[in-house]
Homo-oligomer: 256 residues x 4
Amino acid sequence: MTVFSEFFFGKVSCAKANEIINVNAKDKKLHTHLGVIDVGSTIDFDYGSHIMTNKEKKIFLLPPNIYDFVMKSQRTTQIVYPKDYGYIAGRTGLKNGFKVLEIGTGSGALSTFMASIVMPQGHVYSFDINDEFMAIAKKNLEKSGMNEFVTLSHYEAEKISEYKDIDLVIIDLGDPWTYLDIVYPCMKSGSFVVCICPTMNQIEKLSNYFYSRGYIDSEYVETFLRKIEAREGKTRPNMRMIGHTTYLGFARKVLR
Amino acid sequence: MTVFSEFFFGKVSCAKANEIINVNAKDKKLHTHLGVIDVGSTIDFDYGSHIMTNKEKKIFLLPPNIYDFVMKSQRTTQIVYPKDYGYIAGRTGLKNGFKVLEIGTGSGALSTFMASIVMPQGHVYSFDINDEFMAIAKKNLEKSGMNEFVTLSHYEAEKISEYKDIDLVIIDLGDPWTYLDIVYPCMKSGSFVVCICPTMNQIEKLSNYFYSRGYIDSEYVETFLRKIEAREGKTRPNMRMIGHTTYLGFARKVLR
Amino acid sequence: MTVFSEFFFGKVSCAKANEIINVNAKDKKLHTHLGVIDVGSTIDFDYGSHIMTNKEKKIFLLPPNIYDFVMKSQRTTQIVYPKDYGYIAGRTGLKNGFKVLEIGTGSGALSTFMASIVMPQGHVYSFDINDEFMAIAKKNLEKSGMNEFVTLSHYEAEKISEYKDIDLVIIDLGDPWTYLDIVYPCMKSGSFVVCICPTMNQIEKLSNYFYSRGYIDSEYVETFLRKIEAREGKTRPNMRMIGHTTYLGFARKVLR
Amino acid sequence: MTVFSEFFFGKVSCAKANEIINVNAKDKKLHTHLGVIDVGSTIDFDYGSHIMTNKEKKIFLLPPNIYDFVMKSQRTTQIVYPKDYGYIAGRTGLKNGFKVLEIGTGSGALSTFMASIVMPQGHVYSFDINDEFMAIAKKNLEKSGMNEFVTLSHYEAEKISEYKDIDLVIIDLGDPWTYLDIVYPCMKSGSFVVCICPTMNQIEKLSNYFYSRGYIDSEYVETFLRKIEAREGKTRPNMRMIGHTTYLGFARKVLR
């Protein structure tokens, strides 16, 4: 069964290591921190059932979702994290049918997520100048099944101008302001451009360009995610936390 | 034009107050902090164009998106904010085709967002015990056009049991643990339940129930959003910030 | 009694508004959100006792501390907050006997706090170019009784060079890098300079100067403070929070 | 020279590892990540001067301050961090002359800091029930020279009652509410008690006790510290951050 060909080995509640495994491709053993399991024997298992390791520990079988695919993807560059791409979706109104133009494919994490939201009627057109990155992004997209809704192309400014009625532009390159004029003619009026800016300098420089290039309602944000250890009588935040992923810059196209 | 019947008056880059206005329904003047505009005269304007107020200030016309509808919705209860519902989407893999079961409709903010992601093939089944809230949620959903993808019903435990193959359960009531057994039979194996928990006590209590009720991979998080004032030579975070909205509890159903 | 001449009206646990009152100077009524009290009648009260308002609410009498004086001080500029000056003390080893050189007195909040820590054997030498600010800082310092340990002077570069064996330099002006050469000869080897930098641009520019000017171990931080509403069964963070006060830049002098 | 007997090897601006070294006690080589240095040869060096390692890297000599002693102290328990003890000082008005009563010495980090602020006229009376911890705290205090201002004693409730006119009480044990009645008679009216509470449950439980035990103005806070990487053209927050150290509960004694 094809739905079943991609496989996810979950965990009991405290386990940390996960693996997304293609059962058909693997007939050998899987070594986990909870012990060894025979992957092939699980081929007919339903999601939600479990297998015992040789150490008598339970490992549950779960279907991988977009989050799992992104977090387990092969990475060439710093990926955009769920707290950030989730906010992008929430802020821009991303939904089925959106035509998304992405400049800077990277590892394809953001492309994967956006494709999952805009499909089946929408599409992501993603461009990068690094062909090596593109090859890895292609693999990641295939693994998650989102490749059908993403077209990867080598970036050239002229190619971009062929696109029209784009509902959302994402720029994930170091100099996002460079692309504001290039993507402008492709965008629907009132639609968002979102720039992924790891540094303060980038959002500051970006803020100089938006209004003069025909974009208003600019907004720059940073999101944080903190995990909580919820346990009877000793609930407290986790001591480990990612201090920074990226800033996000948003603006909407108007008529010049 | 129906697409045009809902209208959004944007702002110049520094303006703060917005209004979503139905042009057909309003032929009177709109008073804004930038001056007065004649709403009716904009009926044939394209999105992205602008009108001058009587104070010679530009006001741009923008199409409202899901964010605008949610943030401008009529509120009966504390709404779930974009930073939170965005993370829910990013964490659970919410996408087109998902059947979502929501216990606790409230003002319909979360229903509106989820409908926008799961449509056209998915659907949100939302329940509340407060009929007054439901009436307001209904209006909010109609305003955003998402009512087509959301079924609102008065909550009764027996009704819930009729649903099958649910891809995501959201519980936004004060005692989410009460519903874990009720929604369990409705859920696909491996799917997520997400609980909206404003207090620490709720996530702590919830953590006592998940595993024994057949849910694993529990995770409790809090997200923060901070705006940045990006301006040449004086970039810094905004001094105002929302200190807390809610904690979120996640877990995935397995076979008992 | 002089100890008694400055007075602080505390609050019951949920009250928010406080007043620091000089009992001798006030024989009129004090209007609070809990009702009116007769200030003069409390002159012989011990700290910790209470008076009833005309609305039958309790108001407790508390001795003002440095925090109270700072938070109630008259402000001419943005003050440095307790979370920030507390960290400055914790990071630099501020203690009795320290000779502190401060460039940029502002409202004197930071001078007040530092004086309270370095006294009785230490001293704060504080400079500003704005005489109007200095006049207000002087009043604030007198109110808290810290004026004895702070010398306020109009800033001139030549004056600074007279100081030697300074244990800590604080620069709270918009262009802190300008003063690094000026204060260098005054500082003990190994001592700290701390720069109060509200913007990212300031810490970035500062980072270009430290090493070449003879300062190492540079560190740039931001602190946050979030209040928690602790209440049986519904504990959660406060929804209001200050999103940003200032960045702090630290470095230690070495031999050039 | 005694001032010189404790030694601190600083670092060039990017180095991370520090060592506090007693030059007299060490005539062997010190191995650092920047190479090896001959410790004994530096005995006559001034602070701020540098020595070259065998890898031709500069290592600066800096005098250790309270921060260095605390962060390099031998730890038996989770220590209270500078961001937290700094805020305690800023909030409670800690200063020279304060008599501090500490229940829960732990590794002595907080005792070290408080002693440095209250000395020379104040004193810290610190109690713990774990004699093994006390022995290590004693060593840490001696290393920083603060032992003169701290009296360590094995905790017994009866001993506590002998103290009077205490200006600040710190409780750093798992059940701080247990001690509120015990310390009450020792405290000056209007003075603060501060409870170190790593979990939400502790501050919640504490909030049930304060008012009924004779303490008002209760306040519960959490502080965060984020480092910033300030570098020309690529300034951004550090990706690593401590997500949580502890909550702090404050209240002030009034007459019952």
